[in-house]
Amino acid sequence: MNKVVSNADEAIRDIHDGMTLMLGGFGLCGLPEKCIAALVKKKVKDLTCISNNAGVDDFGIGLMLKQRQVKKMISSYVGENAEFERQLLSGELEVELIPQGTLATRCMAAGYGMPAIFTPAGIGTEVAIGKEIRNFNGKDYLLELAFEADFAIVKAWKGDTMGNLVYRSTARNFNPLMAMAGKVTIAEVEELVEPGELDPDHIHTPGIYVHRVFKGENYEKRIEQRTVR
């Protein structure tokens, strides 16, 4: 049950052109920055990326967009990225914008082995176009399908060699949901420990969901909106 790989390059070794990836994080918080850097280096392309945001121009998924590695983005909010907006408005990039709760719950459904969910988000809007609507107790709900992803790439605070993961603060966000949802799940962690060092009661993602884990060095953890008192 040892899931440890040596680094990001080894973890993403079999990610190929045209694959669908889930990438954890909310903005730049809890972002798997080591794997993204490795994907940028590898220049793998025609990717479909499921991630809440698209990074900023010079960090996160923005780096992959700049190299035109992304064919399609599935996100809820992309307001922080000028190059993204340019590629979208010019039609170079295919984009599916979906409600944030729908995005999270479609990941969750995949990890729970459920094919679909019902949500009221998007009823009466263009998000509902072409989707099945069911009425429960007088209210309309959209049928939304569980995601399918070749790889889920997440960032955790601590992980053990068996792939058990613990996240820190709001860097948790989409990470545990995506960790459950990948055909192959890669976790990069700040601290890699031996089995037994994490309290079983405090584990957020059980190792059964995680296929590869490695310790990332020198996290930049860039702050998007530094705001102080």
Binding site: C29, V78, P99, G101, T119, A121, T170
Partner: protein, 219 residues
């Protein structure tokens, strides 16, 4: 006429003791600054936090601790962290008592448009569609007219919708208005120094202003 802080102060008066509240980005975020200290209110951040604290002091910024606007924040005693699915679970299950968000347009039937200007601006809906589809108590904080001087309170939204029949109350720099169940904007209060006529001129949708409309009292 109110400035942004004034709008935030007036909205803060709508929050009741014991509420769990979701504050959107922009003017709604400012509302947190005007909650009375005596009031027991928990702020929800849809990236996965209950109990948003003040901004950190210089040097105390934690890149792992941000709000939905991606700003560095602090947590409070009793704060709780959860994943994004649970965050929208508690919203969908109506555990959050009040949602305050911005808008580009609101229609007299309670429709809201806030996420897209076709061909010009595409930022995405973020959590707004989930919030407006489930929340029972939604207040919109926005300017009464857009930068071109056109009313944002319309008979029908012209921009792509975020949600339908959902907005209950609007606070602008000019007025406090309710959306009537049968449709239309009911004028409740005028901003200091603003006349009913000014509000009527800035409102494209149906406006009901009956009797003497009081001026806002802001503490």
């Amino acid at each position: 006429m109110l400035d942004k802080e004034g709008i935030a102060k007036r909205i803060a008066m709508e929050i009741k003791d014991g509420y769990y509240v979701n504050l959107g980005i922009g003017i709604p975020t400012l509302v947190a600054n005007y909650l009375p200290e005596s009031m027991d209110v928990v702020l929800q951040s849809e990236n996965g936090l209950l109990g948003i604290g003040p901004f950190p002091f210089v040097g105390d910024e934690d890149p792992d601790t941000i709000n939905a606007g991606k700003q560095t924040i602090t947590m409070l005693p009793g704060s709780a962290i959860f994943d994004s699915a649970m965050s929208f679970g508690m919203i969908r299950a109506k555990k959050v008592n009040l949602t305050i968000l911005g808008a580009m347009e609101v229609a007299e039937n309670g429709d809201i448009a806030s996420w897209k200007i076709p061909g010009k601006m595409v930022k995405g809906m973020g959590g707004a569609m989930d919030l407006v589809a489930s929340a029972e108590n939604i207040i919109v904080a926005m300017q009464h007219v857009n930068k071109a001087g056109e009313s944002k309170l319309l008979s029908k939204c012209t921009l792509p919708l975020t949600g339908i029949n959902c907005v209950k109350k609007i606070v602008t720099e000019l007025a406090v208005l309710d959306i009537l169940p049968e449709g239309g904007f009911k004028l409740l209060e005028r901003a200091p120094g603003v006349s009913v006529e000014q509000i009527r001129n800035a409102t494209a949708g149906k406006l009901f202003a009956e009797g003497d409309i009081p001026e806002m009292v802001i503490f």
